[in-house]
Assembly symmetry: C2
Homo-oligomer: 227 residues x 2
DNA sequence: TGAGGCTAGATTGTCAACATTATTGCCGTA
DNA sequence: TACGGCAATAATGTTGACAATCTAGCCTCA
């Protein structure tokens, strides 16, 4: 509390989305957190946010509640909200859960994929390969996210998709850090291509194994970041 | 909308918890849904609930939002909330996710379990066996829930625990129905004992397989309920 | 000088009134 | 009689003000 500054009241007087609706505020705050503008541990005072985004305190309040159960924000009774600081241990836990759930999605996707979708997935794989060759980390990261999203979609497992979406939101920071490790994209790419291959081959069990192998590699990378 | 009655305004004039705080209302509404007092599809009108539980509309509103992202209640913009009716297909989806996540917990538990905890788990197993022999479905159902909870706890995987807790809340109705199927408890018991054995034997992979086998059996039972 | 209590400020929690939106039943018209 | 618009009603969404709660700094007293 003593070291965490409050959100600055000035800087951008007009709201980002133009409107003052709670939906706009939700997106605005979430983006501010995800882009790192509001760092981990940052206090989120309702009145300040209200002034900054030009929305009523009620809207801000509702948004904070929503973010709280997305796991992006922590709330304590009568003590307000702050940006949740996800520890490395938690990041590993999250990745472990992702490992098994993404494995399920991969298996389901392998069972249901159409030829058309397979073509699309392979195209995504090629694009990722190109991005790694070009050393374009941002683009690779974006394609990576798109691939995982597409697999979830193809799997038709909306429950699993919901769980994963929620977990992803909590983990973006660590996720992003990983991709900055030298040599990491190269390893990651191979694993992704393996997942794509197995799904397109309509081999559920192999696809699940490939997905789990990939996440296991992510976990290892995270764990080795513990000094 | 035409066939779903509103929640009756009378019946229990005084609030259940004594207070009018949002926390009490949340618990009260949740319990009313879980006990089946508010059936699936039941409309939840804020003003009515407010009158019934003696809380302000704001508190009820907050509670409904919370329940909505627990997945127990459905909300549509400007059209209010209603008790979510989980279809059989969704119940199967939920069980599939549970399958892999409980598998993870079982594996983790097998890695971390202490001798003391092993003793406790085996005792739970004996109690379940006794309950099945006695034909006490309610007690078996309760022990069942406690076993799964204890395994989650031993696993130390709080992220997975959170995911499972959330999924369980959506599925209690189907879960309960299953245990009423003749012969089902007997099958279920054997699977549970197998999970306990493998965890106590500190065999992570075998424990995961046992947990998945159990949930797969649940899924089959659910699927066969589709006429 | 240190501990305990106390007051002032800041922040969240709650509430009731108002605005907005969707539904329903009715009426006029072809 | 069937259809399309329209007004009345019911419910939710929003806002601003008030009450309860927590934190921090100060002051007293042993």
């Amino acid at each position: 509390m003593t070291t965490t500054p409050r959100v600055p009241a000035e800087g951008r007087p007009a709201p980002l989305t133009g409107g003052a609706g709670s939906d706009g505020v939700l997106g605005a705050i979430r983006e501010a957190i995800l882009t790192g503008e509001f760092g981990p541990g940052q206090r989120l005072v309702e009145a300040d946010l209200s002034a900054r985004f030009g929305a009523s305190r009620g809207s801000v309040r509702a948004a904070l509640f929503e973010l709280a159960n997305e796991g992006v924000v922590e709330r304590v009774q009568n003590r307000g909200a702050r940006v949740r600081a996800v520890t490395l241990e938690e990041a590993i836990e999250i990745s472990e859960v992702r490992m098994v759930v993404e494995g399920l999605c991969a298996a389901k996707a392998a069972e249901r994929i159409t030829d058309e979708q397979a073509t699309e997935l392979r195209a995504l794989g090629s694009a990722m390969r190109a991005a790694v060759s070009a050393g374009d980390v941002m683009r690779y990261s974006e394609l990576n996210q798109r691939l995982h999203g597409r697999i979830r979609q193809i799997s038709g497992q909306s429950t699993a998709a919901g769980v994963l979406e929620r977990l992803r939101a909590q983990n973006v920071r660590h996720q992003f850090r990983l991709s900055l490790i030298p040599g990491r994209p190269h390893v990651s790419l191979a694993e992704h291509l393996a997942i794509i291959d197995e799904i397109c081959a309509r081999a559920p069990e192999a696809a699940e194994r490939a997905a789990r192998r990939h996440l296991l590699s992510v976990i290892d990378a995270l764990a080795s970041a513990v000094h």
